[in-house]
Amino acid sequence: MTSTMASKVRQRRVAQLISGGKRLDGRELTDYREVKVESGLIERAEGSARVRLGKTEVLVGVKIETGAPFPDTPNEGVLTVNAELVPLASPSFEPGPPDENSIELARVVDRGIRESKAIAVEELCIEPGKKVFIIFVDVYVLNHDGNLIDASCLAALAALLNTKMFNYEIKDGEVKIKPGYKPLSIRNYPIAVTVAKINDKLVVDPWLEEEQVMDARLTMTIEKDGNICAIQKGGYGYFTPDQVIEVSKIVRQKAEEQRKLVVKE
């Protein structure tokens, strides 16, 4: 990512093309890049999945541990989402504690899963108020080529659908693991779709060079019945109220297409 004159010229080209309804990589404004989903790559994790969205690559691992519930939900398991922008994924990522970008990414992924009630958390209680299962969803960005939110949400859902819950029994308040597994109960399939605004055009699935020239982005997460369950606007620009409504319509249509990639029914 060199901020040279050449890249400035290229950025202008990306934006100019979009004004004419075209994109540098040949896609239509409402097209996604090619998506590849692979599940169960990490044997040590209870669940895992890798999503490739064009050249963007995200690996999600799910681990299950025991711990204390939140005081206001003593009978429910806990969902914890964390995102790492791993330095090997982009020259713009640096080692160190999570910055605001990785925190935002994790919280948007978390919001979609939580608000759609995708995980049957009430099945994850061991001892009310004392001990429950904690589902750790760790988002690991391996290559950054734009639209990390959609790739991460898709990978997180694929990993949860791939998650095996071990059999257990409770003896003296301790969890004893028994042989065998069953799938983690997943009841909803939230799909995030991000739309960028570039030169007043709405562009689905912005890749890195489009993110660099976009005014703003709007992500909406759609649950299985077509309702919106999470929204996040980002970037230094704005949308008009009419554009916001238009985005919600584009998103609801695209989410159905994307969901078919991970949910086989």
């Binding site: 970008n101 919280r107 608000e115 929204i231 606007k233 620009g237 704005y238 949308f239 916001v244 609801r252």
Partner: protein, 254 residues
């Protein structure tokens, strides 16, 4: 301070738990220029929310590597006092506060002519002294007034207000109580003369149709907040103007 959840948040006459109608804002007042040292400041009370905003700058960016060659770096810290909520909050910035600092900055930046002050920083601090739901919106509304008080050139004031769904009904400006017991919360920030939505988030469940109505409702709420912002600024600056003319008159008499 644990309250028991009442059976109904909205009664059969569409009256909410605090006596408001569905589309009513909470009582809101803004005061301008409340801090001695800050270049600009403001204080808002919206329901039980009590929030201070202070602006320092434009000033030399520190540390220097944060300076931008073509515009001022707007920096924003949203922070909650440990005593602002029922259960003490650790004063260390939480992940929620870091995310909110980012989205609030992105909500305000479209309004500021940052290109007028390259290589400088404009530092904005939002301190929530008491939280009652909708603190990010109230924080944005008060911060925009503080930026104006600092004399920073802006395209428009940014006003913010949430709409949401409580017991199946769309309502404006959710209190903490309604947010926790409700079905959806949709905070929105808006510049009225530019017709621009600069912050939009949501959690909960809304259908496409409900979403469209909620956006419209929040925009209307924002316009009401905008009036309160303008009145607050007029209250400070028209008084200052009167005082000045009085002084001039006195000087003329001597």
């Amino acid at each position: 301070m644990t309250q028991k959840k009442p059976e109904k948040l909205i009664d059969e006459n569409d009256v909410r738990i605090d006596g408001r109608k569905l589309k009513d804002l909470r009582p809101t007042k803004i005061e301008v220029g409340v801090l001695g040292n800050a270049d600009g400041s403001a204080y808002i009370e919206q329901g039980k929310n009590k929030i201070l905003a202070g602006v320092y700058g434009p000033k030399e960016a520190h540390p220097k590597h944060l300076a931008l060659p073509d515009r001022a770096a707007l920096r924003c810290r949203y922070h909650m006092a440990p005593f602002s909520v029922d259960e003490r909050k650790s004063p260390a910035p939480s992940r929620r506060e870091l995310e909110l600092s980012k989205v609030i900055r992105e909500a305000l930046e479209p309004s500021v002519f940052t290109e007028y002050y390259p290589r400088t920083s404009i530092d904005l601090f939002i301190e929530v002294l008491q939280a009652d739901g909708g603190t990010r919106c109230a924080g944005i509304s008060v911060a925009s007034v503080a930026l104006a008080d600092a004399g920073i050139p802006m395209r428009d004031l940014v006003c913010a207000c949430a709409a949401g769904k409580v017991e199946g009904r769309l309502v404006l400006d959710l209190s903490d109580y309604e947010d926790k017991g409700g079905d959806a919360d949709l905070p929105l920030a808006y510049m009225s003369t530019v017709n621009a939505v600069t912050l939009l988030q949501m959690d909960g469940i809304l259908s496409g149709e409900e979403f469209e109505q909620a956006v419209k409702m929040a925009v209307e709420g924002c316009k009401q907040i905008n009036q309160i912002q303008k009145e607050a600024l007029r209250a400070k600056y028209s008084v200052a103007k009167e005082a000045e003319t009085e002084k001039e008159a006195e000087a003329g008499e001597e």
